[in-house]
């Protein structure tokens, strides 16, 4: 049976809990930065045909994030987000191995973005490449 003391204790405890919550909530919310508006990137001009020789790679800005475009030895292009799926490092193109390499933990991806050796658990996020005359445009995968 609920006596008066117990009800009072519940009320007091509940208010204390609510009070602590009302103090902590703004503090925690303050520490979480508001999400920045992702610049609506539809297409980015990553490079030009003349700029990149076959068997080379280049980091470019895709919105606010780094992306990697690779010109294969056969002259075709392929592009990925440059963030390693292992621990976030920025990957680079290794001309000597014709593979994409993450220097942080020696992870390799092939030119389809598939993780082929080292610790990366997943393939790189792929982007789409479109040619427009001499310009090479990159868009998100549709």
């Amino acid at each position: 049976m609920l006596d008066r003391r117990r009800i009072l204790n519940w009320l007091l405890g509940g208010s204390a809990f609510a009070w602590a919550g009302s103090v902590l909530h703004p503090v925690i919310r303050f520490l979480m930065p508001p999400p920045e508006q992702e610049a609506a990137v539809s297409a980015v001009k990553a490079t030009t045909l003349t700029e990149m020789t076959p068997n080379s790679g280049k980091i470019f800005k895709f919105g606010r994030k780094p992306a990697l475009i690779v010109r294969r030895s056969d002259g075709t292009f392929t592009a990925f987000m440059a963030k390693c799926t292992h621990l976030d490092c920025i990957v680079q193109y290794r001309e000597d191995k014709e593979r994409i390499w993450c220097a942080c933990h020696d992870g390799f991806y092939d030119l389809n973005g598939t993780n082929v050796s080292g610790p990366p658990p997943r393939p790189l996020d792929a982007l789409e490449v479109h040619m427009q005359g001499d310009d090479v445009y990159v868009t998100r995968k549709s």
């Binding site: 930065p33 976030d88 490092c89 920025i90």
Partner: protein, 361 residues
């Protein structure tokens, strides 16, 4: 007592005695002792760690006079400190070396306490507060590493915070708070700066006070065999015998620090660029190398979970067990003690090998 102006020392003492219980303190200090024996050498390392922390506070405040904690200015301001400010290179190098030595001596202190089994009842909270302090020191190291905003630190921070993000449930929000967003950017730097110069020093000070308070209340742990053979018990007074020896060691450490800072000054490297690929050979500071190397050996997947997560899970289990050592080994069962000590040796050997591999590969 005379309060005549010819005797100013005594006058000050008399003034203080009139207001504070100095006599009680003097009596307490007179009776404070430290065990003497083959293990006595290890009792000095906690004090050395404290000394290095005091150096960190001093040099840290000095660096703050010139350091500018934003992504646009941080690297340039550290370069200014190193290149233009008179003795700036020295102060910065002492700060960097002292940080490394402090963590090194904290590890020595912890393992010596472990192998002397000084964590046992009634010193469980001293042990736990020590572990919290070691964690804080590692936090200091991690947050301070980013402040010069150079390439190595930038990628080490990316990797380090990403590892935090792997922790189930709290990892993602914690990583978001630490980074000040999804990625390590200019928003990360002021957060790390605030942790490094405000939150961590405040917390560490509280824990140092608690740690020392526990030691004052309970005295320094004496070797187990003294309980069975009290005739072997031998101590020395803390004041001045132990205290003077400790001060002498502080002087030796200060000299080592000066030699290291002068002959191996802290490097600055290349300014961080969030749009350049990670350089080859990025490594965290040596005290994170063992973890870094261990995670490297994890396969991409272990059963249903990612390798990193599995590695972190193993490390977390080890850490919790390490915290619970005073409750696991209560000194009642010889077999348990032997197993715990053997585990301690294994951990020490494992950490040393992993650190060596991480350093040399």
């Amino acid at each position: 007592m005379s309060t005549s102006p010819e005797n100013p020392d005594r006058a000050i003492l008399a003034w203080a005695k009139d207001r504070y219980p100095i006599a009680k303190f003097a009596e307490w200090a007179e009776h404070k002792t430290v065990p003497v024996g083959p293990n006595a050498f290890w009792y000095y390392f906690g004090g050395i760690t404290l000394f290095l922390f005091l150096i960190q506070v001093g040099t840290g405040i000095m660096l703050m006079f010139y350091y500018k904690g934003s992504a646009d200015t941080a690297f340039a301001s550290v370069r200014f400190i190193s290149a233009k400010v008179p003795f700036g290179w020295l102060i910065r190098s002492v700060h960097a070396w002292s940080a490394n030595l402090m963590i090194f001596f904290a590890f020595i202190h912890m393992f010596s306490v472990f192998f002397m089994r000084a964590y046992r009842k009634p010193r469980e909270l001293t042990w736990l507060s020590g572990i919290v302090m070691l964690a804080l020191l590692l936090g200091f190291g991690f947050s301070g590493y980013l402040l010069p905003w150079n390439e190595l630190a930038f990628f080490a921070t990316k990797v380090g915070t990403d590892i935090i993000g792997v922790i189930p449930l709290i990892g993602e929000p914690l990583m978001y708070v630490l980074r000040g967003g999804e990625e390590v950017t200019g928003s990360t730097l002021p957060r790390f700066f605030a942790l490094h110069v405000a939150l961590f020093p405040a917390l560490l000070t509280i824990f140092i006070v608690a740690h020392l308070f526990f030691i004052q209340l309970q005295g320094i742990h004496e070797p187990d065999e003294w309980q069975e053979q009290p005739e072997k018990r031998k101590t020395m007074p803390f004041f001045p015998h132990f205290f003077m020896r400790e001060l002498l060691l502080w002087l030796v450490v200060l000299n080592i620090l000066a030699v290291l800072a002068v002959f191996f000054p802290a490097e600055l490297g290349v300014e961080a660029d969030p749009f350049s690929p990670a350089p080859a050979g990025i490594k965290p500071e040596w005290y994170f190398l063992a973890t870094f190397e261990f995670l490297k050996y994890m396969p991409a997947h272990v059963g249903p979970i990612e390798g990193e997560q599995f590695g972190l899970l193993l490390i977390s289990i080890g850490f919790v067990a390490w915290c619970l050592v005073p409750w696991i080994d209560r000194g009642r069962n010889r077999t348990v003690t032997t197993i715990v000590m053997a585990a301690g040796v294994t951990i020490l050997v494992f950490l040393s090998i992993m650190t060596y591999l991480g350093h040399s590969v």
